[in-house]
Chain length 428, copies 2
């Protein structure tokens, strides 16, 4: 048997503890499957005295993750601290420079600095693996990078933030308003320290940037994502959508078009009978479409100790088996700079707005839509108790550009009580 | 760049042609992703003159697949002929002995001879990869063997034969009897040359045997599978099940219990709201449950040129990248002989039978069930036009052993017109 593979684990939150638990409890299984013993050489976390419910006594402690990353007795640096910059990035760079492979769950760091880190790692002949960074326990990075490697990927989409999906499904199932469910999610500890990472779509956007890169051979481009959170979705939107046979999901979509790489992370309407539409609670789902494979759907827990640690340890097993491949599936220096493109394919849209209770208000809006070439499939004005009237349109297929033109015109009128909410109705 | 990886492709049916198409049309993508050119050195098929709609002119032809397998200029032998024994096995053995790696879509050969072939390959330091053998384009072998390698797998289940699922969903959607839909499927070319491979559950059983081996570290044991086909399912069964909120699926289930390895491939009732229940047509779905990852669901096309060739080429890409691992995820010599165990966990059952129109017939049957300790949740006797009365029971949870005892007693009576159909109601 080959020499043991020795891990340095930085960060002992939920995922780090999960990794320790697997290494301790599954030693025989890991060694049977990989042909090597997998050991933890040392760990690092902010508070050495905290009781984490797992025995850490046998491991060396490093207060500085950079020192951990450089240790002679560490083969693989397991980065589970999180954060775009700071210690996570410093320690990852130090690990690469010291000749270690890296396994990380850090989507933010890779979405922003992934290109530079991948180039650095590949120049040093080192690997960065990040299965746990996208969709928790679902082995989607592996499916895309390896299993579907012979496909030209045509579209990747999915629900990648369990907290948002929890909020949206809970609003619908309990008939509760956004603010109340947001508070619940906060009380349950489902939200990131900065909740905007979740409900603003940023966390899901980071994940989409990584999937796009692998799928299309492009540099990770988080800033190229059309990003919109769920905080403007009301219980009325959810009910109106349900009435029409749809559910609202924070949906990520990436595809290559003639104009470049289109990446969107936005609340969308999807048919309530589709697999995406039926996804409840914190579960994630990724849909991958390729020219040969047609469509593959992967579903599983998007977070949590066990599932995320399973993904981290899957990467560790790959390293123990000696699998070597570039971070984003092809050498980082060959990844393309794809211009970011707004959605060009037309789609129907759901439009909700509050009109001031003035004669001719509705006519004004309808005229603006018509002038922009946006034709109306359905319209509904519903009961109201104050001086504004909630109005709902479903358009026929239109381009986002035409719709944006209409929305800009609406803002200039004196009949809109608040900026309209426009949600794409996605065919999935 | 490393030297090209040279394939010898044996079998130019649907899948073989798909492989040729990918190698020819995706050369740049394959080489960008794997760091090597992937080429076809030679091919073999029964009829060299047939027009397969793809340009084969540049490849050497071998009439004998064994000769192809031994060629100096072949690195990877791609076995796409099918068949448990015969040329497929001979050529696979020849390839291993000649120092080639093997990629195959042949579930029958591996389910029966997989243990011997894996031992032979591993003794020679060669690999056998078979992603395409299970669930077509879904990278499920990879997910289980690699992505979830750090999990103790607790259960694997799924719908793995698209033809059976097509037949069952078509019966329900069109309200047609089994025989008629079977004929349709035959006319559409959906059935194997020996249709019993499909509708008898054998093909799906082969796949389950391979999944079990990987999931549980046991030798592939096709003969240990409790196997039952779909040919006794009537449109009445489907309607009665639908009435109660279920769909009938040919469902494979493998799990380890205290008594050994339980493997079943049988028509079962599953809730119509579950992902398995909602699976339509030829699509496959595999559900994997692991101690860390909880539950992962994978869905995709189970057959067809593109999807199956995608899986074959995924394996080829792994080989081009230099990934090495044992056939069943751990060395074949370490795989365990697990005793095969019948289902021990109790479940409710759906029981349908035709009773002869005699006084006391129903009482006799009910008494037999009661004596065996099988209690009845629901019973329904429905309209009939001949001298037999169709009767339906749904039992409370019972063991298969108790049920079999009752079924054996029923056979001894003079009130049963034909052997009862018993279908497990699976919680999924």
């Amino acid at each position: 048997m080959t020499a043991p593979l020795r891990l340095g684990v930085a960060g002992l939150g939920t995922v780090g503890v999960g990794v320790v638990r697997i290494v301790r409890s599954q030693a025989a299984l890991l060694s049977a499957r990989t042909g090597r013993d997998i050991q933890i050489a040392a760990v690092s976390a902010r508070d050495a005295d905290k009781d984490r419910g797992v025995n850490l006594g046998s491991y060396d402690w490093e207060s500085d993750p950079v020192a951990l990353a450089k240790r002679e007795d560490v083969d693989v640096f397991v980065e589970l601290m999180g954060g775009t910059d700071g210690p996570a990035k410093d320690a990852t760079e130090a690990a690469i420079d010291a000749g270690k492979d890296v396994v990380t769950a850090n989507k933010a760091m890779l979405a922003i600095h992934g290109q530079a880190l991948a180039e650095r790692a590949e120049a040093a002949g080192r690997m960065i693996r990040f299965e746990a960074a996208v969709a928790g326990g679902i082995p989607v990075i592996k499916a895309l990078t390896e299993g579907l490697a012979a496909n030209e990927i045509t579209r990747v989409m999915g629900v990648m933030n369990g907290t948002c999906n929890y909020i949206l499904t809970r609003m619908e199932n309990a008939g509760l308003p956004y603010d109340k469910v947001f508070q619940e999610a906060s009380d349950l500890g489902y939200l990131e320290a900065d909740p905007n990472l979740d409900v603003g779509g940023i966390d899901a956007g980071h994940k989409l940037a990584l999937l796009s890169s692998i799928a299309f051979g492009t540099k990770p481009d988080f800033n190229g994502i059309e990003l919109e959170g769920i905080h403007r979705i009301t219980i009325d939107d959810i009910r109106q959508a349900a009435d029409m046979g749809y559910r609202i999901k924070l949906l990520g979509v990436a595809q290559r078009t003639g104009r470049g790489l289109e990446q969107r992370m936005q609340p969308c309407l999807v048919p309530d009978t589709s697999p995406l539409g039926q996804l409840e609670g914190g579960t994630n789902m990724i849909v991958i479409e390729g020219n040969a494979v047609e469509q593959i759907v992967l579903r599983g827990p998007g977070a949590g100790e066990g599932p995320t640690a399973s993904a981290v340890m899957g990467d560790v097993c790959d390293l123990a088996r000696g699998f070597r491949l570039p971070t984003f599936g092809q050498p980082a220096t060959t990844l393309m700079d794809a211009p970011s493109a707004r959605a060009v394919l037309p789609a129907p849209y759901y439009l909700r707005m509050a009109l001031l209770d003035k004669p001719g208000a509705l006519a004004k809006i309808a005229t603006i839509l018509g002038n922009a070439g946006v034709s109306i499939d359905r319209m509904r004005q519903y009961g109201h108790s104050d001086s504004t009237a909630p109005v709902l349109f479903v358009t026929h297929k239109t381009t986002r550009a035409a719709l944006d033109e209409a929305l800009a015109e609406m803002e200039k009128t004196d009949v809109i009580a608040s900026p309209p909410v426009a949600l794409r109705i996605e065919s999935v």
